[in-house]
Structure formats: structure tokens, C-alpha cells
Amino acid sequence: MNLLSAFPGKRYVVLKIKDPKVRQQADCLGMGEGEDVYCCARRGNGPVIIGRAGQMVAVGVEVARGIQILPSRPRKG
């Protein structure tokens, strides 16, 4: 599934980011491949707002389409 299918309030793991430039930017922001992100909101057909460690980023539709995610397993403890 891609980021556009994310449900607000759920955690996801970023599996793959297609565009190398976006991948690099995502690494800078701490939301790159392998990272655990939280879907804060989805605005209609518009941006997906994702969060990680206190910061939120609005990802535009075109970029979000190229980001593969998987639902994250709940943390122990």
C-alpha cells in the first residue's frame, strides 16, 4: 500500500520511497525507509500529514503515491 491509503491515527513503517531525491529528504527529516511514522490526518484528495517524534510533515499527493508503507506492529510494553 502507498501513503495515500494511510488511515489517520494509525502507525506505519515506511517500506520504500521511489524517488531518490524524496528518499534523501525523508532521511534528513527522519521519515525515511524503515522508519516508523504516524498518520496524523488526510485532507480529502490532498496532502497526507504524517508525524514522527514530535514533528509533522504534510506530504503532497504525488510524493505520497511513491511512498510504500506497511501497518506497524504495536510496540511491546
Partner: protein, 383 residues
């Protein structure tokens, strides 16, 4: 001075150099490099960057400045340390003496978080200073550390790791010095401002207020006073009388006090007309920036602006363009890429009539009837 956008670099810069740098809470405020001096050493305040990947103009400019840097002051946001450590690791690999200023420590204390900065210093191998730059906290310590670093020699640069390895290392360091944070979420106000119905209503209200304040209050009332009364009634008549008696009629008199004279027109227009407009425009723009409203508006309108090759932030210059296109073109600086700035400048030049043009267009259309007015409105929407 290097750091992520919106971490307080400009405040640290001002504290060090006693020179004002434009400060606001909107990323990208430092659009140019501000330079000042600290004890005879030049200090450069670079634009905010998330990393040094050469992805945009700001990153390339920062890279170029770093090539000549003798000391790096890396300012990081204590509440976004996980994110900021990526850039810190990139910088620490360059072999240039460096100090990390962990800014906004008051926020960390307020949120009840804990950061082990002594451990961070050990893990990074560079001095770390805790600071709250807006209150001047940590600035004396920074000055002391800088005093030592200025005499240190550069080491050879380490080979840079790829971004994924750097991120993994940044996360590893962060987990050793801080407790994991909870899931972030939108506040009720964020939800209100970014939901389509409530967000659009608020946006319409904000735009109406801006239009009223600039278009009606500043352009009408304030300019009516400064140009119409202060200049045209109080200042210019005695000035013209005095110069008429001193300067003989001819070219010089025309240049000074003629219909398009330096004093009669340039001074009156520059100070009486444009200054109040520019001042009120920047006052409102900085209020929007400081309130954090612009990113929320960008999220709300992103969808509508995508077909134009723009993002939601483009709405502000477009609306301002209906008041004054010149001011609107200046405000395109808030867009992140050159491409977006060019698209929007063309749109403003070609498709958005300013208040004066709108008046002329309306006057021309009225005698032609409602049908032509509707056709013009439809064509304007299409363009």
C-alpha cells in the same frame, strides 16, 4: 552558522553579532546570507537546510559557505533533535571545528522531556551548548567555546556516509540521549484550519481581513492622510512657495517642483503613498508568518493549486495581487522553489489585475452590459 529551518539560528546570530537578522517562525526566513562580526571574526547566518544533499538552492549555498568556514556553529532544535542530528552528523564529518548549540531548551523543560547533553557531547565528539537564545541563555558559554575553537586547526574530512546510514546513526544517538516521544497529533486548532469547510471559511475571513486592512485602511485612510493631508496640504505648499521664490522658472524648477518633480511627486509618492502600503503589507505578512497560519493554509489549498504547478502557499500572493501586484510579487519569496516563484510571478503579471486595474476594467465593462461583465469574469477564471 548552520541548522535546520526554524531552529533559531537568526536569534543566535543576533545575540553573537548584535546585528538584527530577520526572524520569524516560518521556515525559509533567512532567504539571503546575513553577515556580522564577533570579536573580529566574520559570522555568516546561512539559510535553514535539513541536510547537505545539494537538493535545493539553500543547500548549495550553505555547501559553498562551508567550504571556507573556520568554525561551524550548528544550531539544533532541542524539541526536534532526532531530525536535526542528521545534519549535525553531516557537518561533523567535515573536519571543521564545530560546536552544537541545542536551542529551545526552555521548551524541553516545559514539556518535561530530558536530554542527556553530556552524553551527546561524548557521542558526537564536539562541544555541546544548551541554550534558549531568545532569552540569551547559553550565549556566554557559546562565546567561550567559540573562543577556544577559533584557535583549533581543521582536521581532514571523513568520507561521507549515505543518507540512510547517517539517519540510522542519528536515530541511534538520539535513542541514547532521550526518552522516546509520544505520537504527534493535530491540535483542535490545526484540525479546524486544515479541514475543507472550516479551513476555507477561516481562509476567506483572513483574506477579507487582509484585503480590508491593506486595500481599505492602508491604501485609503492612511494614504489619504499621509499623501493627501501631510504632503499635499501641510508640507508641499510651503515648500513649493519657498522654492518658487528661490529657483528661477525653468528646467531646474520643473525637475524639483514641477508636476512630476523630485519633491512634489517622488517624495510624496515614496513616503506619503508607498511607505504606508509597504509597511502595512509587511506587518500583516509577518503576523501571518509568526502565527504559523501559512503552513496550515498551504495544506488546505494544496489540492486546488496543484494543477497550476504550485502549492497552497501560492494563495497569499494571489490574493495580495488584487490589491497591489508589486507587493504580491515581493511576497512570492515565501514559495520554496524558484520554479514556483516564476510561475506565480507570471500569473500575477498576466492574470491578476491590481486594485487600480480592476477599477478601470469595471468602468470599461459597465457601459457594455452585464453579459460582457460575466464573459470577462469567466475568461479571468480560465486564465
Amino acid at each position: 552558522m548552520v541548522g535546520n529551518p526554524n531552529v533559531g539560528k537568526s536569534v543566535v546570530f543576533t545575540n553573537l553579532t548584535r546585528r538584527y537578522a530577520e526572524v520569524s517562525n516560518y521556515p525559509g526566513t533567512t532567504v539571503e546570507v546575513s553577515r556580522g562580526f564577533w570579536l573580529g571574526h566574520q559570522v555568516a547566518d546561512t539559510p535553514g537546510v535539513y541536510g547537505l544533499t545539494g537538493a535545493n538552492e539553500e543547500e548549495r549555498l550553505t555547501e559553498a559557505l562551508l567550504a571556507d568556514a573556520e568554525v561551524i556553529v550548528n544550531v539544533v532544535d532541542a524539541t526536534r533533535l532526532r531530525r536535526d542530528l542528521f545534519l549535525t552528523l553531516q557537518l561533523s564529518g567535515r573536519g571543521v571545528p564545530m560546536v552544537v548549540v541545542v536551542n529551545m531548551m526552555d521548551e524541553v523543560r516545559r514539556l518535561g522531556q530530558r536530554l542527556d547533553l553530556a552524553k551527546l557531547e561524548t557521542l558526537l565528539g564536539v562541544p555541546v551548548v544548551a541554550a534558549t537564545a531568545v532569552h540569551g541563555e547559553g550565549m556566554d558559554e557559546l562565546a567561550q567555546v567559540l573562543g577556544h575553537l577559533c584557535h583549533k586547526k581543521k582536521n581532514s574530512a571523513r568520507r561521507l556516509q549515505d543518507s540512510a546510514s547517517l539517519r540510522a546513526r542519528a536515530n541511534e544517538i538520539y535513542e541514547k540521549i532521550a526518552a522516546p516521544g509520544g505520537a504527534p497529533g493535530l491540535s483542535p486548532l490545526d484540525k479546524w484550519l486544515t479541514r475543507p469547510l472550516s479551513g476555507l471559511l477561516t481562509a476567506a475571513l483572513v483574506m477579507a481581513i487582509i484585503w480590508w486592512l491593506i486595500g481599505r485602511m492602508a491604501a485609503d485612510k492612511v494614504v489619504g492622510f499621509t499623501e493627501g493631508i501631510v504632503f499635499n496640504r501641510w508640507l508641499l505648499p510651503p515648500l513649493v512657495r519657498m522654492l518658487t521664490s528661490i529657483v528661477p522658472p525653468g528646467l531646474l524648477q520643473q525637475i524639483l517642483i514641477g508636476d512630476f518633480g523630485l519633491l512634489t511627486m517622488a517624495l510624496a509618492y515614496g513616503i506619503g503613498l508607498l511607505l504606508p502600503l509597504v509597511f502595512s503589507f509587511y506587518l500583516l505578512l509577518s503576523l501571518l508568518e509568526d502565527s504559523g497560519y501559512l503552513p496550515r493554509l498551504a495544506v488546505l489549498l494544496d489540492n486546488a493549486f496543484r494543477p497550476l504547478g504550485l502549492n497552497g502557499k501560492g494563495v497569499i500572493p494571489l490574493i495580495l495581487g488584487f490589491g497591489c501586484v508589486t507587493m504580491a510579487v515581493i511576497s512570492t519569496r515565501m514559495l520554496s522553489t524558484r520554479r514556483e516563484r516564476i510561475i506565480l510571478s507570471f500569473l500575477l503579471g498576466l492574470a491578476v489585475p491590481c486594485s487600480a486595474q480592476t477599477g478601470v476594467i469595471a468602468m470599461m465593462l459597465v457601459p457594455m452590459g452585464l453579459g460582457w461583465l460575466a464573459l470577462y469574469a469567466a475568461c479571468s477564471r480560465r486564465s
